[in-house]
Symmetry: C2
């Protein structure tokens, strides 16, 4: 995918929740930045740093990591192509988390805060769309707290596969019943708050129950409704199919 296609995808995601007119849409599409490729485990953003850019994912996947003193990690957000990750940093440039590549090849567009501020300043409705994007991101985060806090490992896993499948489908990068997930099991474990060993057992259990097959990066969901039920998944928190605009 090209930078321009990623911007179009980003705009489409914004437009799913916010109403933007022709001029505002053009402003988003005209965002510019530096195109960079990252290898896994390379920090895009380091905790404690002052950030001066946002990252639009062109291809691959990235994640936000929280880290404990003893080195154990917890993924707090997963981003796919067309996601503007770390939009938060526009409001709080001093970030408290790390941003890293998940997939082996991650290409992203580093858009300077300066340029983001320019269109936020010029177009209040775009600012609102960005704000709403942050809120939608927080809504997902909120759901993750519920998952990790109150569901067992099997439900959590089923739920995460549902979320990722649906987000990938909405982005037009695959179908919820068959998609590519360029992520290894220990990364999934880091997202779910379990150990890699147990992650493996849970995936096996899901396979044995006919809910999921994972071969390499290839995810197949034979019966999506069954998986959604096993994970207690309800898509409402993704805040899709509802558009808002409070500014004139």
């Amino acid at each position: 995918m090209s930078a321009h296609q990623a911007l179009q995808l980003f705009l489409r995601k914004l437009s799913e929740r916010s109403c933007l007119n022709q001029e505002e849409r053009r402003a988003v599409l005209e965002l510019e930045g530096q195109e960079v490729e990252y290898a896994p485990h390379r920090d895009i953003v380091r905790p404690g740093e002052l950030t001066d850019f946002c990252c639009l994912i062109i291809s691959g996947m990235a994640a936000r990591f929280g880290q404990l003193p003893d080195g154990t990690r917890q993924i707090t957000a997963v981003y796919i192509a067309g996601d503007m990750c770390d939009l938060y940093s526009l409001m709080l440039p001093k970030v408290e988390w790390a941003l890293q590549a998940l997939s082996s090849r991650l290409v992203l567009l580093k858009v300077p805060h300066r340029k983001m501020q320019d269109i936020v300043h010029a177009y209040p409705a775009v600012a609102e769309a960005f704000w709403r994007d942050c809120v939608a991101d927080a809504s997902i985060l909120s759901q993750w707290v519920v998952n990790i806090g109150r569901r067992d490992a099997l439900m959590r896993t089923a739920h995460l596969f549902c979320e990722l499948g649906l987000r990938i489908e909405i982005a037009g990068l695959g179908r919820r019943t068959a998609f590519q997930l360029p992520v290894i099991q220990s990364q999934m474990a880091d997202a779910l708050g379990i150990t890699p060993v147990h992650m493996n057992r849970v995936i096996r259990a899901l396979r044995q129950q006919g809910l999921l097959t994972v071969q390499g990066r290839d995810v197949q969901v034979p019966d999506w409704n069954a998986l959604a039920q096993a994970g207690g998944f309800e898509s409402g928190y993704l805040a899709i199919d509802q558009r808002w605009r409070t500014l004139a």
Copy 2:
């Protein structure tokens, strides 16, 4: 506390992270709404509802709840006096969570979205401050995912007591070493993703280690640094002591 005092507290919290001029500050202080008292377990906001107001807490505590089909609940955010809870709803009026009183007497100011939109429209810097407040809230949420995902019950609990103590101190409602927490143990358990029974045992363990004493609603922290270390607490994620303003 009065509605006006709560607004002043809210403004002070905003001002800790955002720069606002005299006029913008006045606009915030002039927010109006309906003053309402809620009993515990009474829903302020119900999941799936369309909300048309934000809640400023005048006194008491409230929480955001995620709920599973089987009835188990997970608290995803805790709010104290001066917090504008559900600021999110200004961007996504269709909320996916419940908002309820924690304390026996919760008084809040229901500010209509209409009035919030007015000042957001009139003062871009206030909009930015609100946006930043949402991001700060999400930063806390992010930390909660790390806590629940990767720390054992004792660390989690210590961490939450540190966070609440510090937030209460910053709001001027107590000291981090001695404060009132109008919350029962099973609610704490709901916030930490553990059972009430285990919550009780963990609090006992903290007491036996000399880190914490809880008697009724009265929390005493003999050695705050020790508690912070036990919980791996670092205050950075609360995004205090750092002010930003991107708009002119």
